[in-house]
Structures are given as structure tokens and as C-alpha cells.
């Protein structure tokens, strides 16, 4: 079981309020991802749940029990740190067994669980090495191993993949997702990587300056962002946001259109512009199109084999049904 409820949780460092009172419920077995710009309080929130920071106000409940003042070790949560935080002088085996040893489990049970975890994580051949003799991905797996042997009620991950190279990151992302499928344990995952958030989450929590901007499934957030911030934050490349006459025309203060919802044509369209920088990704090509009277270029997606060159004039037609409209407060107009 791992149902975590935050009730008006608040955190201030001295005078600075990093997290204003915040409510959030994480259901048992859910994979929740916290995203938000750097410094918005994702790590702080995670550390509050873990018990590594004391709350300044409010209550944290785990499975209905008040856990606000409970020390980290007795909350039944396991955490995987960005720097892995392995114990460098212990072998992989001892690292993974450490929480069991602290819990006073007998040696046979320790061995059984460590070997079980090692098998799941493909670490069997490395059990007698030191962390210093492992690659980044292997170290990450040891850190995860150390978390799973405890059989916690929830896992907390703080940007666990940010030290890995791109290829490894994709691999580990899948492994963590698979682990979640198998264990069905609650996982809370902090990242600022769009793709990780979209692909792994059951539920994404978008934070800005300690405030929850929106909570929802990845597709919810993609299709119906609640405000301009979420609209601009979720999706890669970012949604195009337009103000001024284009927005007025559609009865809003800001309108947003995703790069993939704009049709490109050589001869006719709603807007006309000049092609600027283009980014070829193989499967897709993203063009930065400069419109008359707009300083920011519009990002437009086209197929992989479209041949447009710098300086070409093109015509764009947004898909009006997929246009997002926001009012003066930045809130979505239904």
C-alpha cells in the first residue's frame, strides 16, 4: 500500500516560502511525475515526502496515517538520488543489503533478497565490485536495487537519469517503467525532461514556484492545458503562443497552437512567412517561420522529407479546432 496525501503542506527556508500551502493526493500504485522549471521546488517537495526536510506547516499522510513527524526510515519509503549516493567503500552486495542489515534481517533472508534484486536488475555479475568500478547505468541500477530490497510502499526518484547519456537514459526509462508494471508500487518521479514525464507518468504534476499548476494524465495536459504556463511547458517543441490581433480575432487574450497542428503549403494559407532555421530530426523537421509583425518565430512541424530552404516564403494554416484559447489571467477558455 502506498497512498500519499499532502494536506496544506507548506515549506519555508527562513523567510523564503518555497512551497505555499499545497494539497495533493497520490493513489496507491500510481506513477506520478513532478515536472516544472528549475528551482520550482520539485526536489524540496520530494524531500518533504521522504522526511529529509521538515514541513513548515500542514500534514503528510501515508496510507491514512499521519507521517508528518515520523523519521524518514520509518515512513516505509525508498529514495533514489540523482548522484546515486552509493556507499563507495562497500561492495555492490553490501550496498544493496545495507537497508536490510540496518533492519536486522537474518543473513539468509538478506542474501535471498539481494540476489533476487540483482537478478531483476542484471547485476548478478557485479555483486562483488565496488561502486567505483561500475558504469553510470550500473550504478543507477545498484541504487534502484538498494531501494527495491526494502519492499517500500513507495519509491521516490529525484532526477535519477540526468547523469546518464541519451541512449542509456532511454534504456533505463524503460526499465523503470517495467519495474513499475511488475511491482505495482507507488512511484514519485522528479524530472525536467519532457519525454520522461510524458512517457512514464500515469499522472503529471506541473509545478511553478511551489504551486501546482495542473494535475492530470499526460494526454490531458497535452490536449487541455489549464493555463498558459502548462500550455507552454508541456510538449516539445513548445506550443506557439500568440497575442494581439490573432488572439483578438478568436476572442481570447492569448492563443496557442502546437507545431504539429499547423499545415504547411507553398501557395495558400492563413498566415504567410519566411522560413528561418530548420531542425531536421529525420522523422520530423521543425521550421522556425518568421511572420510579418512578429518578433518570435513560429515553430512548425513538417514531415521528414519536406525540402524548404532558408528564406523561402511559405503559407501556414492552423487547425482551428486545436487552437487553445486563454483569457487575461492566462486561464483556459473552454
Amino acid at each position: 500500500m502506498g497512498r500519499i496525501t499532502l494536506d496544506k503542506v507548506r515549506k519555508a527556508f527562513g523567510e523564503v516560502e518555497v512551497i505555499p500551502p499545497l494539497d495533493l493526493t497520490i493513489e496507491d500504485g500510481e506513477f506520478v511525475v513532478f515536472v516544472g522549471p528549475s528551482g520550482c521546488g520539485k526536489s524540496t517537495l520530494l524531500r518533504l515526502i521522504a522526511g529529509l526536510e521538515d514541513v513548515s506547516g500542514g500534514q503528510i499522510r501515508i496510507d491514512g496515517q499521519d507521517a508528518t513527524g515520523v523519521p524518514p526510515a520509518r515512513r516505509g519509503l525508498a529514495m533514489v538520488f540523482q548522484s546515486y549516493a552509493l556507499y563507495p567503500h562497500m561492495s555492490v552486495r553490501k550496498n544493496i543489503a545495507f537497508p536490510l542489515r540496518m533492519a536486522g534481517l537474518d543473513a539468509a533472508e538478506q542474501t535471498r533478497r539481494v540476489e533476487g534484486a540483482a537478478e531483476v536488475l542484471n547485476l548478478t555479475d557485479y555483486l562483488d565490485r565496488r561502486p567505483g568500478q561500475l558504469s553510470g547505468g550500473q550504478r543507477q541500477r545498484v541504487a534502484i536495487g538498494r531501494a527495491i530490497v526494502r519492499e517500500p510502499s513507495a519509491f521516490l526518484f529525484d532526477e535519477p537519469l540526468s547523469n546518464l547519456d541519451a541512449a542509456l537514459r532511454v534504456g533505463m526509462r524503460l526499465e523503470i517503467s517495467e519495474l513499475h508494471e511488475r511491482l505495482k508500487t507507488t512511484m514519485i518521479y522528479v524530472t525536467h525532461d519532457q519525454v520522461e514525464a510524458m512517457t512514464m507518468a500515469d499522472k503529471i504534476v506541473v509545478l511553478r514556484a511551489g504551486n501546482i499548476e495542473q494535475v492530470g494524465s499526460p494526454l490531458d495536459l497535452y490536449h487541455t492545458p489549464r493555463n498558459v504556463f502548462v500550455a507552454g511547458f508541456i510538449g516539445s517543441p513548445k506550443m506557439n503562443l500568440l497575442t494581439g490581433p490573432e488572439a483578438d480575432k478568436r476572442g481570447a487574450v492569448t492563443v496557442g497552437i502546437r507545431p504539429e497542428h499547423i499545415a504547411v503549403s507553398a501557395d495558400a494559407g492563413t498566415w504567410t512567412g519566411r522560413v528561418g532555421v530548420s531542425e531536421h530530426l529525420g522523422s520530423d523537421t521543425f521550421f522556425h517561420v518568421h511572420l510579418e509583425g512578429r518578433s518570435e518565430p513560429l515553430t512548425v512541424r513538417a514531415g521528414g522529407e519536406v525540402s524548404l530552404h532558408h528564406g523561402d516564403t511559405i503559407h501556414l494554416t492552423p487547425d482551428e479546432d486545436r487552437m487553445h484559447r486563454f483569457d487575461a489571467e492566462g486561464l483556459r477558455i473552454a
Partner: protein, 288 residues
């Protein structure tokens, strides 16, 4: 090519300095070796050549020699024990966020700047003096009879004085070691259910192992040649005669240069023996 060339140029440039250092070290060593083979007692005017190893045999078989070695080992060991344990303790305390951290740290380091002679005199006259010493007053305050430290517990007193001087050194090195520990490791251990004692035993202490061996090595080398503190406090009496002090007595007090030189050479051999032994331990620790 370039580095090869500059390397040989560098060698030539360094040669005078190396030569000077060699002479500086080798001449006294050779003279000591030479004297140790003589019957050289300036006050009596004896300067007889080629005693052979008679001086060595006499020095090594005297009961004073064995006592001196024992005293040296107890003294060095005691000081190491106090400074390492005390240093770990102080380093842990200084690592805590406290008010006026900067000032406290400078205060802790202060004893290291006090010259050995001065430190010993201060301790002897201001703390350990049985009539006027601070400790005597303290004892009297609690209604106990003042202790005459330097006569009743002379070895212990010297150990305390020297440990007081070297504690800052150990604290400083161990503090930097503690500060280099990744705080996420401690947090991970905390989440893994390790209490403060387990965190110290399993995480902090192994992390400091290297620094501790370095402290032990450096201190041992310096502590083997303690002299001023003994000279100023007990003058080598009451069982505080270390090997260094014994050599001094043989040469200056008994005016037997030959015998003293032989003792000096034995001390050099002993020091090297200990140094090699320690280097191997440290080397093993540093490899990890």
C-alpha cells in the same frame, strides 16, 4: 622532444640545489656515523680511533635504552590515541552549523601556532603547577588535594601537553575529510534506516579512514623527535626519557659524543623502520 629536452635542462638547473641538500644531510649523517665508531669524550680529551661497534653495544644494552624505547612508544601511542579520537570528535562538532563558526574554528586551530617550548612552559606553570596552577585551584575548589602533575604523572602530563598541541592538526585534516562527504550519502543511509551511530560507523568513519592514516603517519614522524616539551617540563626525569632525550643526555650531559652518536644512529634506524611500516599501511589505504 620538447619535454625530453626541458627535462634534461631542468635536471641541470636543479643539480646545485640537490647537491647542496645532499651535502647538508649527508655531512652530519656521516659525521655522526664516524663519531659513533670513536671513543670521543671532549671533556676528558679522549679521541681514540676505531672502537668498532663498542658504542652501539653499550648504548643498546644499557637498561636506559630499553626504558627509553618503551617510553617513546607509550608517548607517541598515547598522543596519537588522544589526537585521533579527539580530532574525530572535534571535527564532528565543528561540522555542525553553529553560531560564530569562523571564530570557533580559528580558536581551535590556535594551539598549533604556539611554539613547543612556550606551550610546555604555559602548561607547566599556569595549569599544572601544584600551588598556583589553574588545575590546582580547580581541585581545591572541589575540595580535593592538588595534584603535582609533573612529578606524580609525568608521562601522562607530557602526553596531554603534546596532544593539546597536535589536536588542531588532526582536527583540521579530519574536518576537511568530513566536509568532503557527499551529504546525499548520509541522507540515503538515513532513509535506509541507519541511526546516528550506524551512520557514523558505516559511512563517516570509512570515509575518513584515509585522512586518519595520513594524520597518524605525519604525526608519528614528528612525534618521534619530541624534545622541547620534555626538556622544559621534567628534564627527562621520572620516566619521561625518550630515545631522543637519551641521546641528548649522552652527548651533552655525559659529554660522551661517541656513545650519543651511536644512539642517534639507532634512533634513525628505528624511525625509518616505523616510517616504512606506516607507509605501507597508508599506501594500502590510499590505493583503494
Amino acid at each position: 622532444m620538447a619535454t625530453q629536452h626541458s627535462r634534461s635542462a631542468a635536471r641541470i638547473m636543479m643539480a646545485p640545489a640537490v647537491f647542496l641538500l645532499l651535502v647538508w644531510m649527508l655531512v652530519p649523517l656521516c659525521m655522526t656515523l664516524w663519531f659513533s665508531l670513536l671513543d670521543y669524550r671532549p671533556m676528558r680529551g679522549t679521541f681514540d680511533c676505531c672502537e668498532g661497534f663498542a658504542n652501539y653495544v653499550r648504548f643498546a644494552t644499557s637498561s636506559a635504552f630499553q626504558d627509553a624505547i618503551l617510553t617513546t612508544l607509550i608517548m607517541v601511542g598515547g598522543i596519537l590515541l588522544i589526537t585521533v579520537i579527539g580530532g574525530i570528535f572535534l571535527a564532528l562538532l565543528l561540522d555542525q552549523p553553529i553560531w560564530g563558526q569562523g571564530v570557533v574554528r580559528i580558536l581551535v586551530i590556535a594551539p598549533f601556532f604556539v611554539m613547543p617550548t612556550v606551550a610546555a612552559l604555559v602548561w607547566k606553570n599556569m595549569f599544572m603547577n601544584p600551588v598556583n596552577g589553574l588545575l590546582a585551584h580547580l581541585w581545591e575548589f572541589f575540595g580535593a588535594a592538588p595534584v603535582s602533575w609533573l612529578t606524580e604523572a609525568p608521562l601522562f602530563s607530557i602526553i596531554v601537553i603534546v596532544a593539546w598541541m597536535w589536536l588542531p592538526f588532526a582536527t583540521l585534516i579530519l574536518l576537511t575529510a568530513i566536509q568532503s562527504l557527499d551529504s546525499e550519502q548520509l541522507e540515503a543511509a538515513e532513509m535506509d534506516g541507519a541511526g546516528p551511530l550506524s551512520r557514523f560507523g558505516y559511512i563517516i568513519l570509512p570515509h575518513m579512514a584515509r585522512a586518519i592514516t595520513v594524520v597518524i603517519l605525519i604525526q608519528t614522524i614528528f612525534l618521534l623527535s619530541i624534545f622541547a616539551e620534555i626538556f622544559v617540563t621534567t628534564g627527562g626525569g621520572f620516566g619521561t626519557r625518550t630515545l631522543t632525550y637519551l641521546v641528548y643526555q649522552r652527548v651533552i650531559e655525559s659529554q660522551n659524543v661517541g656513545l650519543g652518536s651511536a644512539g642517534g644512529i639507532l634512533a634513525v634506524i628505528l624511525a625509518n623502520f616505523i616510517a616504512i611500516f606506516l607507509m605501507r599501511i597508508v599506501g594500502k589505504n590510499l590505493d583503494k
